[in-house]
């Protein structure tokens, strides 16, 4: 389908896609789908739902691509679109996102003595807000400021989520 575009630099593909070239956008999807689906799978803990949200995120990206000023920033921008898509889903599903207390209130079964849990299971035990902040910080390498920009949450809230979530993960995975 879009094999012709396989050798083209991403920034050029973004420019072509912004002008309405669908095959260029399909190539962008091909290149970025692994990272986007991986991010959303960590946030959702459900592969089918994550893929559905990832498709929504790419459709949203296609719709608003002409608003992207810097084609070289496509990767970071797409990440923000994916995070916003997940946040919309979380709000619709009435997941507790807004406060630290609400995130902490997610029930967590304690691990049995000596039980080692993997990263995905540990993430699933975090509250949604902590999971988001920890994944973006450790997994995607975003700074606290960038996470605050992507989520619209105050910087202090983001720092608390990263610190508390990270401490819990270290405890569970040690």
């Amino acid at each position: 389908m879009s094999r012709d575009y396989g050798d083209i630099a991403e920034a050029n593909l973004v420019t072509l896609a912004a002008l309405g070239e669908e095959r260029a956008f399909a190539e962008l999807v091909r290149r970025r789908q692994g990272a986007t689906r991986g991010l959303l799978r960590r946030l959702c803990g459900n592969a089918a739902l994550a893929d559905d949200l990832a498709q929504d995120a790419f459709v949203q990206a296609w719709r608003t691509l002409s608003q992207l000023r810097n084609a070289a920033a496509f990767g970071g921008w797409l990440k923000q679109v994916a995070v916003r898509t997940w946040l919309q889903h979380a709000r619709k599903a009435k997941l507790a996102l807004e406060t630290l207390d609400a995130a902490d209130a997610v029930p967590m079964a304690p691990a049995a003595d000596g039980e080692r849990i993997d990263l995905d299971r540990a993430l699933a035990r975090l509250g949604p807000a902590q999971r988001l902040c920890v994944t973006l910080s450790y997994g995607e390498g975003l700074s606290h400021g960038e996470i605050a920009d992507a989520t619209g949450w105050p910087l202090g809230t983001v720092k608390s989520h990263v610190a508390r979530g990270g401490a819990r993960l270290r405890e569970w995975l040690s």
């Binding site: 091909r30 997994g139 990270g166």
Partner: protein
């Protein structure tokens, strides 16, 4: 990179997150996205035609009441149009319309919102 000192120091967690989690079915996923975009475009094209068809059907079903309503509406629109045309042919009206519409059009074009609507 993250500015949390814990993040920088704790390379163990960062390493766990860095493990590749490449989901299978990449081509099917791409086909899913392009399919959704095509469906969205078809819907955007079909929706006005469907609305027009429903309107025509409603007119046909309610004739001659629809004719009376349409006549009254058109008369009302004509009256409104006369008033508006008097306003917009005056120097003040032309200036106000230009001052409102020109920046709006420039903003919609420059921010890509005009193109985004039709994608």
């Amino acid at each position: 990179m993250s500015d949390d000192p814990f993040v920088r120091e704790d390379s163990g967690l960062a390493r766990l997150f860095a493990e590749p989690a490449d989901p299978a079915g990449g081509e099917a996923f791409v086909a899913g996205v392009t399919g959704r975009i095509a469906r969205r475009r078809r819907l955007r094209t079909a929706a006005p035609l469907a609305a027009l068809a429903v309107l025509l059907l409603a007119v046909w079903a309610t004739w001659p009441a629809a004719e009376t309503a349409a006549t009254l509406s058109i008369h009302g629109i004509a009256l409104l149009g006369n008033g508006l045309s008097a306003f917009f042919t005056s120097p003040v009206g032309t200036t106000i319309a230009g001052a409102l519409l020109l920046p709006l059009a420039v903003w919609a074009w420059a921010t890509g919102r005009l193109r985004a609507y039709f994608r």
